[in-house]
Amino acid sequence: MNIKMPKWFYQLASPKWSYDIMGMLMPWFGLAALLLLVTGIVWGLMFAPPDYQQGNSYRIIYIHVPSAILAQSCFMLMAVAGIIGMVWKMKVAHIVAKSAAPIGASMTIIALSTGAIWGKPTWGAWWVWDARLTSMLILLFLYLGIIALYSAFSNKASGDQAASILTLVGVVNIPIIKYSVEWWNTLHQPASFTLTKKPAMPPEMWVPLLIMVLGYYCFFAYVLMARTRIELLEREHKSGWVTALLTDTP
């Protein structure tokens, strides 16, 4: 493959470089996540106007929608990282994908459980076998399968590749989730945000939601980098830079 990639892309292949750069970026993402999440949650829960139909119960949207978005984004990230890891034989990419899997699974669980709590007052049932809900449940199973596959291999490099293959196969589920609310006539409402259309909500409602989504992304980046750094240290514990790092720190 003769595609010329930018220099930082190749630098990512070095575990030490990635470890350092992530250590540098992490506090910024953590700070941004803290500010955005606190602003978004206070604004959304206390100052945003109540819905004319659902009253105050709609406010769970400020948790539900960002986690659902993250659950899908995380899977896409794992798929991209899997491709990079397989094409360019980049160990760090596989480690990122592996570190992302449990975060994505947790986001899916949060999205499903807040959806259930929201469904009770609005639909009158904790769970309906609706296309969007079912496809999110499948996403959760896919995450669990990928996590199980990582841990099934004693050789970590093989586990990485196996999980990447499974992730790429599972990616077909993402468009199904995305468009389930448009293809099928379902109980679940259509997407809250799209790039092309104005949201169906008034700005007082969607601005805090947007802040929450951004906050979730920053939080995700923060946790992902923290997990990746630990995994990097674990995998590279025999290499020189880790030894130097661990002996230098007082």
């Binding site: 397989m86 079912t134 499948i138 199973f141 896919l142 669990l144 399968g145 199980a148 596959l149 099934a152 291999f153 050789n155 093989s158 590749q161 196996a162 293959i165 499974l166 790429l168 196969v169 599972g170 077909v172 589920n173 199904i176």
Partner: protein
């Protein structure tokens, strides 16, 4: 093409020589179906309602059950390694294996299904939908299952893991497969459902062999 033919022939011959591998999934299929009238209700009305779902779930589980051994023997006796290092295309071999696997499970399940449908009081109008959906849907199940089998062939505890990996991916096929039979039972048009099942089959037929080949290669290296 010759290689594909040879691969299919070899697998079918192996299956014929070891008949229990063909009969076990079919017996399992029958047994699972038998459990439902005993557990739910032997009433014709109830059974006719749930028959499409039961038959599809049972066919899916029977396919899954037989998946585990797809690459196991070749992996254990080392012939898989020889095939991987040979100049022949691994994806083509994988395809051959899946085709012969389907001929010895999915195809036979589809042929057997009308008998079970009668036992479950499924209206006779639904028979073409049942056999058709199984004929078009089970190849997809075999192809997806083979990816899971190839990923787990080198692992000691692959049995439970393969169901965890493969079942979520089976769900779309199950939804449309069972929906076809339900539509057939209500005398509604089924061609749309069959077309969707067919599209899924073509899609997996194009991509799955490469995923299987990649998975086999890494299983050999492990």
């Amino acid at each position: 093409m010759n290689f594909l033919n040879a691969a299919i022939k070899r697998e079918l011959l192996l299956a014929l020589r070891n008949r229990s591998e063909i009969i076990n999934p079919l017996a399992f299929f029958l047994l699972v179906i038998t459990l439902f009238p005993l557990a739910v209700s032997p009433e014709a009305k109830v059974l006719a309602n749930i028959a499409p779902g039961i038959i599809w779930v049972a066919a899916l589980l029977a396919t899954l059950l037989s998946m585990d051994s797809l690459f196991k023997n070749d992996y254990d006796d080392g012939s898989l390694e020889q095939i991987v290092v040979s100049p022949q295309s691994l994806a083509l071999l994988a395809l051959g294996k899946v085709i012969s696997h389907w001929l010895s499970t999915g195809f036979l399940l589809a042929l057997l299904s009308p008998v079970l449908a009668v036992m479950l009081f499924l209206p006779s109008e639904a028979m073409p939908a049942l056999v058709g959906s199984l004929l078009i849907g089970t190849p997809t199940l075999s192809l997806i299952g083979a990816i899971g089998a190839a990923l787990t062939v080198g692992l000691r505890k692959g049995g439970v893991l393969i169901s965890l990996l493969v079942l979520p991916l089976y769900i779309p096929v199950l939804i449309f497969g069972a929906a076809t039979v339900q539509a057939g039972a209500l005398n509604l048009p089924i061609s749309g459902h069959l077309a969707l099942l067919g599209a899924m089959m073509v899609f997996t037929l194009l991509l799955a062999p490469f995923a299987i080949a990649a998975a086999l290669k890494l299983s050999i290296r492990n």
